[in-house]
């Protein structure tokens, strides 16, 4: 395997760490990383506060449940998203079957569905008192306890819900990786006598491994940070435990320590994965891309592919949207007011601004890592992308504290020095919200940008530089076109995530400033599912626009397509 993917030149990033030389890039990266890591460090700071006897109490009572349930949850969601994400990515990128074009973008749709909303809708449908079970009882004359029906509000239910909305992360990144695979590599494997399955398992999947892992780790971090779903299903996990300890037991230190355990857990996961592919490097050796001729599936093969692609789309999107629409139909008049358009504008504006800012920072961090591959920079980037795994509300508190401190200190200083007050300069502004989003979703952006940068083989740089092009030109003419798909993917991920984001928005927003997610959650958490449906649908619809636009662009960014300055494309229509 490794002979296939050996790079022509050794890129720096994975090599031996160079000694630290403080220069613009290193310092810049470290500053950004420090700012982004500030909330994480604030939470970690609570480790130094003694928590009293709470740990003994937790260990004797509920800690076992927290650990077991969280582990089972990530195992389940990990397996589920892996299977769904990779299978659908493979079919839509390498095979041709009726409806492929539709599935290509439609499979992303569940991304726009907040996890707690899908949990609420499925509970409404499948719970004992829901329409499905009621119909069964009425049809067969059963009563409670006469028949078996899977309990939706269970660990299995939570795994299903989270898998259905999180598999697009794996799908999106894996598909991009498959599309970028040089067909020559696959062709070689085929000529060496590998069947389609063996090519898939021994060439395509390992080549796509960094992308698959990136998608998977995003899904798992979201899983670990999920609060809405597990709370509603009544599951004891680390996240619910953190809240209970913080507010129920009134022990912030112990709660932060639980959060720190969660973080350590994520660190170990990330480290394990990196360690396991330390020696392997995944670069394509040739730039000779060819227009893909997807394998045309017929008969039952085509039917199979359609089923595999339709299932997650149906369960993760069509069914919940249908249920939401039924509810929205009934409550539409009360809910859609001029104010509602304001909510949409707020959500859209916040999500766009956050996406641009976060991805710009991620590009900066990515380049810092590429150009100055020293230990400090690498560690900085790792720490900067921990925010994703911290439950939103904990992260929000981690942001509130340093900002509040900064604002009050500045104000105090101005008062004593100049007798003027700055009040709260940043707290309670849109700025702090955008900062929060950058912290929370930096991982998603960094992972995606890294995957894109990895495609820019060092040989490309060298070739371009040997022609005497300055760095800026290389960036604009070589890097940007190669990374375009990845950058757009990163923008899409952050945009949709911000659209759904709740806890940080809820707690840090300015006066009289609401978003769709806030509206949907307020009503849903008050058990007014029907009333919340309009806002939930609006989130989905607002999320659709970029999903469709960007997924088209990603498809077009496939190597071998026309319009690429760096590749001899053919004139096949996109």
């Amino acid at each position: 395997m490794s002979t296939v993917v050996q790079p022509l030149t050794t890129p720096a990033p994975r090599g031996r760490a160079r000694p630290l030389r403080p220069d613009g890039w290193t310092i810049g990266v470290l500053l950004v990383a420090l700012a982004v890591a500030l909330p994480v460090l604030t939470v970690a700071g609570f480790l130094l506060v003694p928590a009293g006897d709470v740990w003994r109490h937790l260990a004797a009572t509920v800690l076992g449940d927290y650990v077991t349930n969280s582990l089972l949850l990530i195992l389940g969601v990990g397996g589920g998203t892996l299977v769904l994400g990779v299978a659908t990515a493979w079919f839509t990128s390498m095979c041709d079957f009726p409806g492929r074009r539709f599935f290509t973008w439609a499979l992303l749709l569940p991304l726009a569905m907040p996890a707690y909303i899908i949990a609420y809708t499925y509970t409404g449908l499948l719970d004992f008192s829901g329409p499905v079970q009621t119909l069964l009882r009425e049809t067969f004359g059963w009563g409670y306890g006469d028949y078996w029906f899977p309990a939706i509000r269970s660990l299995g239910g939570a795994v299903a819900m989270l898998t259905l909305v999180l598999y697009p992360y794996v799908y999106l990144l894996t598909r991009a990786a498959f599309l970028e695979q040089s067909l020559c590599v696959l062709d070689v494997s085929r000529t060496l006598g590998c069947g389609p399955w063996r090519s898939f398992l021994t060439v395509a999947v390992p080549l796509a491994r960094p992308a698959i892992v990136a998608g998977l780790s995003l899904a798992l971090m979201e899983t670990l940070a999920d609060y809405g779903t597990v709370r509603y299903f009544g599951l004891s996990t680390f996240t619910t435990g953190i809240f209970r300890t913080w507010f129920g037991l009134g022990n912030a230190a112990a709660a932060a320590q639980l959060a720190a355990v969660l973080l350590a857990f994520v660190f170990v996961l990330v480290w394990l994965e990196r360690a396991s592919r330390r020696r392997a490097r995944y670069h394509h050796t040739t730039g000779r891309y060819q227009q893909l001729d997807p394998v045309r599936l017929r008969g039952r093969h085509a039917a199979g592919a359609i089923v595999v692609c339709a299932l997650p789309l149906l369960l993760g999107f069509a069914v919940p949207v249908a249920q939401l629409s039924v509810w929205a139909w009934r409550t539409w008049d009360d809910m859609v007011t001029p104010e509602f358009l304001g909510l949409m504008a707020n959500s859209f504006g916040l999500a766009s601004a956050a996406a641009v800012i976060t991805v710009a920072l991620a590009v900066f961090l990515g380049y810092g890592q590429r150009l100055r591959p020293n230990r400090a920079v690498r560690a900085g980037v790792r720490v900067a992308s921990m925010g994703y795994a911290i439950p939103g509300p904990v992260l929000a508190v981690g942001i509130l504290i340093p900002f509040g401190w900064f604002d009050n200190t500045l104000d105090g200083w101005l008062r004593t020095q100049f007798g003027v007050s700055s009040g709260l300069l940043l707290s309670g502004t849109v700025f702090i919200l955008l900062f929060a989003y950058a912290v929370r979703f930096m991982t998603a952006a960094v992972q995606t940008v890294e995957a894109g940068l990895a495609k820019v083989r060092p040989s490309m740089d060298e070739a371009a530089r040997s022609f005497g092009y300055p760095g800026a030109t290389v960036f604009a003419r070589v890097h940007l076109p190669v990374m375009r798909g990845s950058l757009l993917t990163a923008l899409l991920l952050v945009f949709v995530d911000v659209l759904k984001e709740l806890p940080a928005t809820l707690i840090m927003r300015p006066f009289d400033f609401n978003t769709l997610a806030v509206r949907a959650f307020e009503l849903a958490s008050d058990e007014r599912l029907a009333d919340s449906s309009t806002a939930a649908l609006a989130i989905v619809i607002t999320g659709l626009i970029p999903v469709i636009l960007i997924s088209r662009t990603i498809t077009r960014s496939r190597p071998g397509r026309p319009g690429r300055s760096w590749s001899p494309g053919r004139d096949a229509p996109a």
Binding site: G24, T61, F128, G143, G250, N408, E527
Partner: protein, 341 residues
Amino acid sequence: MRSLPAIVFVAASLLSVPPATAAESVNLYSARQEALIAPLLERFTERTGIEVNLVTGSADALIKRLEVEGRNTPADMLITVDAGRLHRAKSAGLFRATESERLAARVPAHLRDDDHQWFGLSQRARVIAYSTERVDPSELSTYEALADEQWNDRICVRSSDNIYNQSLLASIVAAKGEQAATAWARGVVENMARRPQGGDRDQIMAVAAGVCDVAIVNTYYYGRMRSEQAQPDQRAAAQKVALFFPNQGGRGTHVNVSGAGVTEHARNPDNAVRLLEFLVSDAAQRWYAKVNYEYPVVPGVDVSAAVREWGYPFERDDLPLSRLGELNATAVRIFDRVGWR
């Protein structure tokens, strides 16, 4: 690689929606959700000309925000929907004492803070919902009796993460002591028909569907399920369920309040007090009672017809509500120990 690549930073500083500090305004942090407070605030503005600026959120988060914003906080007032959180805010030094004859006269002593730092605005009772088909109300008596063998596999109740359950257990600790409260909680866990899940509405739905026979719920959920605006399936379910007010003739049914206080660092304390006073006016109290099926705190203000129908008046546990806050951590530990998830 001498020159930096041309990365353009998007330095979007959509900065500073400045905190509203105009002369006639009041800034409100509210754990009561917008739909259940905004109409009242609009009426207040109409009547007084004072603009109200609102941030809603969970009480714990808002308290934390107040805490870190310190003396520069823009918030003049905090509203929560349970007494435990009011106590928490007071303990953190976030409220100031409010001397208002009108508030003192209208809000009964046990529904406000001894130091005048917070005032109850509306009351909600935590009661037993039972199936009218399978339970005779004569079988029901007290919260304590729910731990009896008779209710084995027949009780639905939500998770103990919920503050209303924590407050209920705190009230039992206050009345009977920690040991008896632990035994009670253990008994209820043994009698549960299913693992705690969902919200109060879900418990009522479960009773109607036959999953269990009784549930512990707040009254206003039942009221909303019976209302004209409710979904048909919820209304149908509520038809099969009735409410029982436990511990009548004893210490009374457990009640909690939504309430509010003026913040320690309020910039517009006078306006905040005016808003508080407005919220305990007859009209505002009636609005609460009508729109959210709660009980007024002001004696003599009538409940809505719907609320009267399912049992009014009733005896209430007049435990000082600050005790609920003090005993909250004790209650959570008991829940952990007996495995009430």
